[in-house]
Amino acid sequence: MFWQKDIETIGRKALEELQLKRLKQTVRQAYKNIPFYKEYFSKLNIKPNDITSLKDIRNLPFTTREDLRDNYPFGMLAVSKEHIVRLHTSSGTTGKPKAIFFSKKDVDRAAELIARCLIMTGIKKDDVLQNMMTYGLFTGALVMHYGAEKVGVLVIPAGPGNTKRQIALMQDFKTTTLHLTPSYALYLASIMGNEGIVPKRDLSLRRAYLGSEPYSEETRDKIEKFFGIDVYNSYGLSEMNGPGVAFECAEKNGMHLWEDNFIMEIIDPDTDEKVPEGEKGELVLTTLCREAMPILRYRTRDIVMIIPGKCKCGRTHRRISRIIGRSDDMIIIRGVNIFPQQIERVLMGIKAVAQNYQIVLEAFDKITVRVEISKDLFDGKVEHLVNLQNEISEKLRSEILVKPKVELLEPGTLPVTEGKATRVIDKRTL
């Protein structure tokens, strides 16, 4: 089944021609309307007309998350404010988020891409999708919501959490499809196990879309077996609309990246050079159809590889592997992007905390922050230490939106390594 068969199965040559046409448009639009790009182009001594083939994209500058942050809030906007209808933000490293704007057309295009994704997995109008991603400033839930509505699926905007209610919704409305993070899927499985719910017997589930966090093939197997469903991998990032950038088809062997909407490059994050097809590297994306906020050569920091060869489903858009790693130290909890520097900034703003700290991630979104207390400020009072623990955990919650457990340690307990200390210990087996 296809949503837009012509474009989904377009020949490579025609696709590349379309890409070039749209790339030229995008570059012109960015150069004309976004001072950041105009300055950048001038510095590199390039003009939009210099783009004559797809290969020329390599002469264009990269856009990094720091660029988006530096131009917060309106600096990357290519249209006047009357043309924007939605704002999403994504967390940043220094307190300032990244602002992502959508025009009406952008909202619709993002929904079209989701519609392609859902139809690709066999969804039909009589399906019921329980959307368990976070509604709000993050793109995860809303973009999926609009796409599913476009298909005509009944959407239950459940959001994450309140697991018992989630299960009741699944039972009462005969939910067939879930959209959630892998860690929440695992948590849901454990709760259902405790409650004696056997999904195959008690529920109507047929499939789940898992995204927002990296996870392994083993985790997919585990979730598929427990729920008795097909799990499809979903890739997206707020800067590129959110979900719907790349998605698995029924073959479940890599995610088709919609190349009529994005140009993908896989580069070596250290040398910035293109890696041979089939080798892993950092995914770099250029938007081709975005009106409000075109972005050129965005460094996603996600390490993936292109899966060579044609897909049996007939789609010609190339597939990327699941995320193999990150070329930075960002961590993802409950779909929320967190940088260790955010945690560090909060900790270093608290007097009674010494220099060293560690972040430990465990299953089911448990985050523990281990901090060494300052020797000089220790006064022997248990009450003061308990207050300190609460203060740290509350301040971190308002910065990273997740409330961590805080462990107080004696100074000198954590390993001090030369150069870059190991700040994050990830014990999750996703």
């Binding site: 207390i373 009450e383 107080l408 000198g412």
Partner: protein, 147 residues
């Protein structure tokens, strides 16, 4: 009222910490007269009354422990039923808040003191001065036979 100081040491809750701390004291020939451990949310604060307080404090500090020194009240308890109640009644009447308390026994049960840790020691001392309480002094021997 003579000054009695208590040593507090911060410690994570894990095996071997008490041994490490007391080894330092043993090596320095410091005698422990009373000990109290308060633990909460994964950590503990160990409190000691020792004979050579200043020495113990300096040595622990040198060895890298997170340690602090503060004055506490040491109120003599009568070794009979109701002994603690008498003292508690006075503290309550005078609105002295006890943050932490434990017992120091000297001369193998001949003398017992209630160690009281309170947030404003000077105020507490002033308030309790004229009460019918006996406080610890160094004139009473600090030699202690092992109970």
């Amino acid at each position: 009222m003579e000054q009695l100081k208590q040593i507090s040491i911060f410690s994570e809750n894990k095996p071997g910490r008490l041994k490490k701390i007391t080894k330092v004291l043993a090596e320095e020939g410091v005698n422990i007269l009373a000990i109290n451990i308060a633990s909460s949310n994964g950590f503990g604060v160990l409190k000691f009354i020792v004979d050579k307080c200043e020495l113990a404090y300096q040595k622990l500090k040198q060895k890298g422990f997170t340690v602090s020194l503060n004055e506490v009240l040491a109120i003599e308890l009568v070794d009979k039923p109701g002994g603690l109640c008498e003292v508690a009644t006075i503290l309550s009447k005078k609105r002295i808040n006890i943050e932490n308390a434990y017992v120091l026994i000297l001369e193998s049960r001949k003398k017992a003191f209630l160690i009281v840790d309170t947030n404003d020691i000077e105020k507490a001392k002033k308030i309790l001065k004229h009460e019918n309480l006996r406080f610890y002094t160094t004139k009473k021997t600090l030699k202690r036979k092992i109970v």
